[in-house]
Subunit: 410 residues, 2 copies
């Protein structure tokens, strides 16, 4: 599912200068307001998940870009990790997910977000992760989702012993590629790898792109507390750059060295800790100088960029190149954002936040995602179909950017 | 500098419902665009820090709400902490600030942000922190800043031995109140206290409001790794609520238990770690249930709310009341935000982020701040004078909200 001729990841410069920002915000507001008047008029019933009722419209093609799956062998290995226990905060969720009586896929459909019991919901994740070609495809059909860009569920193979991780990464990528071959118009895939063995990881990354024709990679933040700016991980970054394939940095719970304040109130997960962990990882990449060593590295962040777009002014102000001995960056964080990063909307279905990130980093680097099965398909589809966007923006976010960035055939 | 008759902290409900959000964004965009067309017309020269050139305008009253100072006795005690050393990440900055040859106040004026050497800048902080009534007042006059709401510089007395902390908190509050008495129209003040001794802290908080007539309190996030949701800290929250005085939760570096990934690239400070530490603190307050125990507690967060407004949709989605056994909140995070929180603009002078937070949590809970001496007065003044706001919004953010929330005489 790869295609050639990707356009470069270019975009409008980030408006740091205040005069520019005023002018830019003014024109964005005027355009958005004009479009919205049109939009609201066009949708008199106001049902946010129904198609516009007047004017001929095409169905919106939708590529969901952060969609999890697993395979029985990885699931079995993770069950061993869960049984062994330990301090890792990821175990709080995965103990619920893996270490329970299986739930029948037929009853695994999640209730609506209102009044949901999230602990009970977690016990329904495993069948939904294991089933790629049946209930999932039916749910995609029912909601009008064209493609899931699949990735091995967090924490991937990253909590397994090194050799197990290396071999299960290969197996998982093989299975993923077979699934895609059976449904080439419905699935694309991001390869996993074992950062525990960077040389083997680089080799597997090459195989995943060149032989398996996968669409990029996904890593679940740190591995045993090591972040990708660590020199030991450079072969991984080098491979991703050489293969010109995007590297999605997906959350996992905060590493042991930052875990303490996240141990209460289930703060370690999607509620809060995932964003702190993964955002910190991204900032480490920016300030360590590795993006100068690998300037063509293409990184994808979920969850509206893990709040980096919100912090960008402060990051630029405090981390201008050469402003501190410990800082190794040659560009401003906003310049790396423009050159090296794209983001997805997973788990943050907020029209106001979406408008903010479009204006801050450019619509051409924003992609839609569901975060299946952790987020509800219906809500995510309603979000992308009803968010206040121009039709061009909507198509870019729903599928065109994903086609370009992940080389998914349109 | 307190006045009675504060209005309740009410505000428009957060737009979680999508239809409501679309309508709300549409009207906000239209109003903002209309205002901006006016604004751009009114400022033909485009100099962002000059007053509007046409139409009769009043000078904008400006109350800066996160402005640091210190006293020689606290400075001496912190120098001892710095000399003793240890793992605390705060020491990275304070070693530069406290443990160096004094710099003359006359040369302590910071250069502009462009090309700044932040390590050198840190060595100029101490004289600027110690001088409240001379160079600072002159700088306030030169930039048209009416009031500094003063607070003892981070980490306050929170890294000192318990008894020293208790007595230096009293001394610092006494000095602060004397300074305000000498310049009652130019300074207001937030009291410090020693969370190391919660009973003494509660007593000092009462004295600070009832005898010293200070305007609230400021705490620098954790104390020895303990956060305010800890039951040992409840006397502090109880006192703040009973005194109906706001508690500003100011950053310090991440606590030892979350420090590891922040040890490189000076990531622990204003660049990134401050926000992760303080945002996590605020989320702990929301999810621990202490805001149900102290429902009238009034909290202030700096730095555009430490990104909580950006994460609010996800926080609501993942932490709806009763959705998990470990969650103790009876309200949604956005409901606590509306009931218990205000924010300031310190250190994030981004017009787009400002517009976002206004729309997300309501203009009535946003206040201007400089973050003196860590941020440059000129830039912060230019920001509040030129940001795309209606004149009503500008006055609310520049002074009216601070007058109401901190009971500062207008």
């Amino acid at each position: 599912m790869r295609q050639s001729g990707e356009r470069p990841m270019s975009g409008a410069p980030t408006g740091v200068d205040r005069r520019g920002a005023v002018t830019r915000i003014s024109s964005f507001l005027a355009a958005a307001a004009a479009w919205l008047r049109l939009s609201v008029t066009r949708r008199p019933t106001g049902e946010h998940h129904e198609a516009p009722s007047s004017a001929p419209t095409r169905r919106l093609r939708k590529i969901a870009t952060e969609e999890a799956f697993t395979i029985p062998e990885v699931s079995a290995a993770m069950l061993e990790v869960v049984r062994r226990g330990g301090p890792a905060l990821d175990l709080k969720l995965w103990t619920l997910v893996y270490n329970t009586t299986p739930v029948e896929p037929t009853v695994a459909r999640a209730p609506s977000a209102a009044g949901v019991d999230r602990d009970a919901l977690a016990r329904q994740f495993l069948p939904r992760l294991l089933d790629v070609e049946h209930a999932r495809l039916a749910e995609m059909d029912a909601s009008g989702v064209d493609v899931h860009l699949l990735s091995l569920v967090s924490p991937g193979v990253q909590m397994l012993e090194r050799d197990t991780a290396v071999s299960l990464a290969r197996l998982s990528n093989d299975r993923l590629s077979e699934t895609i071959r059976r449904h080439p118009t419905r699935f694309a895939g991001l390869a996993c790898f074992a950062p525990q063995d960077p040389a083997a990881a680089a080799k597997e990354m090459e195989r995943a792109i060149q032989s398996l024709k996968l669409n990029g990679f996904l890593v679940n933040s740190h591995t045993n507390g090591v972040y990708l700016d660590d020199q030991r991980c450079w072969p991984i970054l080098e491979a991703a750059e050489a293969l010109d394939a995007p590297l999605y940095i997906h959350p996992r719970a905060p590493s042991d060295g930052m875990a303490a304040p996240f141990r209460d109130y289930r703060l370690e997960g999607s509620i809060w800790g995932y964003g702190m962990e993964t955002g910190t990882h991204a900032v480490r990449l920016m300030l360590s100088g590795v993006l100068d060593r690998f300037p063509r590295l293409r990184i994808v962040l979920g969850h509206m960029g893990e709040a980096l777009p919100f912090w960008l002014w402060r990051l630029d102000y405090m981390a201008s190149p050469g402003s501190r001995a410990a800082l190794k960056n040659s560009l401003k964080p906003s310049e790396y954002m423009q050159r090296n990063f794209s983001i997805t909307t997973s788990g943050l279905e907020d029209p106001l936040a979406l408008r903010y990130v479009i204006e801050k980093i450019g619509v051409e680097r924003v992609m839609w995602a569901i975060d299946y099965p952790f987020q509800q398909t219906e809500g995510s589809v309603a979000f992308i179909e009803s968010a206040p966007l121009s039709e061009t923006e909507r198509e870019q976010i729903a599928h065109r950017n994903a086609e370009r960035i992940f080389r998914i055939a349109d």
